[in-house]
């Protein structure tokens, strides 16, 4: 009983032989095969472009999710500085959900990158084989006599036919994987569009930001004053804030003056 690799070899050869047997004049088969090769090359190149487009789209989404995640982290920090642990918890749990999405997208991004590399290499290999086949085909046709050309046609045809089968399968698999990932990417787009994930431009106000704005209305001004006083006194703002008395406990927001939420 033959194993996997022998059987697969036989299957490829059988396919090539079947195509050759159908031909009345082998020269026509060579020309037809060459046309098919050029079509496949085009298809592989389109495949590479499609996968690259999907990859770029994922990168864009990853950036959006990551900026949203950073924003939620800042909000959590600010809420905690203002003594609102409930708000901070909410912001951080939303961030955790986003991080899960980010992790999933990163995995998909790796998959797509792998497919893109494989297809690029497949396209290069196929291009080299197609060029070699064209030269061989023309030589065979120029010196054609039915008897002597049969073997050489068979060899050239088997070689290219096998490569085409291999590359054809690679492109099929890449298309399947890309279609699955695109469906997922579409779902993320919908989430972004529906506002379930916040507008990454930061123009829209989410409920946490609105609440933070409400409760920190005067606090930012107080923090700014504290910082200026400290500067005038020759100290650093950090010392002024961190070294404050109990009444300034709420001012312990590390760098909170840097985060002017949605005050564009």
């Amino acid at each position: 009983m033959s194993g996997v690799m022998k059987r697969m070899g036989m299957i490829f050869r059988a396919k090539a032989n079947k195509a050759l047997d159908r031909a009345e004049d082998p020269r026509e088969t060579l020309d037809y095969s060459y046309q098919k090769q050029l079509e496949l090359l085009q298809k592989v190149r389109r495949g590479v472009a499609d996968v690259a487009t999907s990859r770029k789209r994922l990168e864009l989404q990853l950036n959006q999710l990551q900026s949203q995640s950073s924003k939620l982290e800042d909000q959590g920090r600010k809420a905690l500085a203002l003594g609102r642990e409930d708000l901070a918890r909410e912001a951080l749990s939303r961030r955790a959900a986003l991080q899960q999405q980010v992790t999933d997208l990163e995995t998909q991004h790796e998959t797509l990158q792998g497919e893109e590399e494989k297809l690029t290499l497949a396209a290069q290999r196929l291009q080299a084989k197609v060029d070699a086949f064209r030269t061989k085909k023309e030589t065979i046709k120029a010196t054609y006599t039915a008897a002597q050309a049969q073997t050489r046609i068979g060899e050239a045809f088997s070689g290219i036919s096998e490569e085409m089968g291999d590359v054809g399968l690679a492109i099929q698999r890449a298309e399947d994987k890309t279609a699955q990932l695109q469906a997922r990417a579409g779902a993320i787009d919908e989430l972004l569009a529906s506002g379930a994930l916040d507008d990454p431009t930061g123009m829209a106000k989410d409920d946490i930001a609105a609440e933070l704005d409400r409760i920190s209305g005067g606090t930012d001004v107080e923090l700014e004053l504290q910082r200026m006083k400290a500067e005038l006194a020759g100290g650093t703002s950090q010392q002024a804030i961190e070294g404050g008395d109990a009444s300034a406990a709420q001012d312990q927001a590390e760098g909170s003056t840097r985060h002017k939420f949605d005050k564009q």
Binding site: M1, G3, V4, M5, K6, R7, M8, G9, I11, F12, R13, K15, A16, A19, K118, A122, Q124, R125, A128, K129, D131, A132, F133, K136, E155, A156, S158, G159, I160, S161, E162, M164, G165, D166, G168, L169, A170, Q172
Partner: protein, 92 residues
């Protein structure tokens, strides 16, 4: 002899390596038939590594048919089964 690893290209191997490859190939077939996905993955990787280790890559523009053909490293058990079936996955 010439061996193709799908998705990677072709390698030329001395016939002396054939025994070792055959052993692994029989194991691979047995694992495929019993549905042992883990064993299948392990043996497939070993088989591919052996080909890459012992073989010399064939030039991209060589038009040689392969005597043996191996699935790509990430091929699943089901995919290989389908390739070996009558309809097969292989285009053309």
């Amino acid at each position: 002899m010439i061996v193709r690893i799908m998705g990677e290209g072709q390698w030329t191997l001395e016939d002396s390596h054939f025994d070792e490859l055959n052993k692994l190939d029989d194991e691979l077939l047995a694992e495929m038939e019993t549905g042992d996905a883990e064993g299948f993955r392990r043996t497939l990787c070993a088989l591919l590594d052996e080909v890459r280790r012992c073989g010399a890559p064939l030039a991209d523009d060589a038009l040689e048919p392969s005597e043996l053909i191996l699935p790509s490293p990430d091929a699943t058990l089901d995919e290989v089964r389908a390739m070996l079936s009558d309809d097969g996955l292989i285009p053309g």
